[in-house]
């Protein structure tokens, strides 16, 4: 019973990612979209919190990564997926929760 969580806010501005990670279960997937992708940028303070997340798979949406100039700047362990991959994540998990 895995769940897909989407997070669309910058972790530097909002606590959305933090709250999401506090409610994930082992086997869940967190997909960073829109301004949420900044969490996975190398060298940033937020990247540490993300790297510390245990038992969940972290993905980031390529369209948003590229739009923001973060191509090549994403930390190891975060999988870049395109929109087709986003759709796959939705269908491969049992349900989706948007952390708005």
């Amino acid at each position: 019973m895995a769940m897909l969580h989407t997070v669309n806010k910058s972790p530097y501005q909002c606590n959305t990612l933090e709250s999401c990670l506090n409610h994930t279960q082992e086997g869940d997937v967190v997909l960073l979209i829109e301004d949420g992708v900044y969490a996975a940028a190398k060298g940033g303070r937020a990247a540490d919190a993300l790297a510390a997340a245990k038992g969940v798979k972290i993905c980031a949406l390529s369209a948003d990564v590229k739009a923001r100039g973060l191509d090549g700047r994403i930390i190891d362990g975060v999988e870049i997926v395109d929109y087709a991959g986003f759709v796959d994540l939705v269908t491969e998990t049992d349900k989706t929760q948007a952390w708005l």
């Binding site: 409610h23 279960q25 349900k95 948007a98 952390w99 708005l100």
Partner: protein
Amino acid sequence: MSDVKKFLYVNRKAPHGTIYALESLEVVLIGAAFEQDVALAFLDDGVFQLLKGWDTSELGSKNFQPAYTALGDYDIQKVYVERESLEERGLSEDDLLEMVYEDEDDDWAEKSSIRIVSREELAKIMQDSDVVLSF
């Protein structure tokens, strides 16, 4: 699969600042007619939606707080409020609206719909739901 799904409405935003709280409530009221298994979750700033004592007259907008207390009439019986979110904001259950429903299995006794749950319990409730509606 049964025809009844578990709907969970997740409310994480403060009221008034944006329309999310109000328009979420409107979905709940409509959705109550569909005979699904409905639960509401309030966490983060969403717990402020249940803080009693709103007076919107000076603001000039509609006070929709009474609609929360009416949820029991729509047979909404499960209102989960996250303890950690309350504590962080200096709130306790006494600060919240009274929300009750009549339990048909217990001679229609009036019972509180509000269930204070830990973060861990709420995470499980999210997992156990079939459809998560996020506002």
